[in-house]
Amino acid sequence: MRANYGYQDGSGAFFITIDSNLCTSCEDCVTICPSGVLEMITDDYDDVTAAVTEEHRKKIKYSCAECKPMELQPPLPCITACEPGAIEHSW
């Protein structure tokens, strides 16, 4: 299942997409995120997968700001850490 966490508002569309079919539950993304945005959950179909925490879903633009400076646009730690490529950012 592809889960799109985040929102769309007047200032843009900000979604982190996590595919539970690709996620291997290695938890590397959870550890590497400097802002505590990610956690492991058991979803409604009893799959263990990474997810964006409830707290961060509604302010994801701000939560991820630290890794998205205006100037440099470095590769994102969570995406780099995910070997199967289960994580995508829409912005």
């Binding site: 299942m1 592809r2 889960a3 799109n4 985040g6 929102y7 769309q8 508002d9 007047g10 569309a13 979604f15 979803d43 409604d44 179909y45 879903r57 509604k58 302010k59 829409s90």
Partner: protein, 291 residues
Amino acid sequence: MSTEYWRWKEYNWKDPESDWQQASVISAGVDVGSVSSQAVVMTDGELFAYSNMRTGSDSPESAENAMKWALEDTGMTLGDINYVVGTGYGRVNVPFADRAITEIACHGRGANYMYGPTVRTILDMGGQDCKAILVDERGKVQEFLMNDKCAAGTGRGMEVFADLLEISIEEIGDLSFDIDEEPEPVSSTCVIFAKSEATGLLRQGWPKNDVLAAYCSAMSDRVFALLERVGVQEDFAITGGIAKNAGVVRRLTKVMGVDALEPKHDTQIAGALGGALFAKALAEKEGKVRS
């Protein structure tokens, strides 16, 4: 702030024919939303009774009231129900639920029951959120997207405009099409700024219906953007309060180029209905059945 203009009709329904005493499994789903709550009771996976009411200030109380109202005059009590699933924004606050399941999974399952196994893309808009859900033929979620951060594209956004224009929610469809020419959509996405924009239009002499049409148009554009993000596959169906708003639905299906399936049940019960179906499966799995 007036709250009378946007209230959906509250009511309950029960199947007049069903003899629930014969059922093997009685299951229920309770969906406590931020704006409305529903309780659905099923006997052996068939719709038996349900209620649809405004959520009060207390979630557990709303859950109990919805349940009580659904069971009214059925002779059934809460004790007769084998398994209850709580869902929705207040799902953790359904005190008598055996399990809480997300509204995403419940809407997928509920839409599958309501619209049949051909449904693949579901749009649900509730009081304070908007969801796009892709399901397979069993109603299992393949992809979802939920916005509950921004009021634009939610029932609440529509309420703000209904209040501003002093139009009841039921009238929105008809009035928004009672215009000479389809106006440009309101340019501000943000409800707060859109309201200022609309106030300006009214002062410039725009008729109410035109302002309403402009907002319905803007709302359908926003919803379309969300749907495009997950990709629309037919058949397409709509659940939640938004399905009752022809002003948005007709404009949306036009811009999508796809029709929405006709609902045969109250679209607001989809979440609770899905919950009741999950409850049935869990009851059978855990052996909590009547016979």
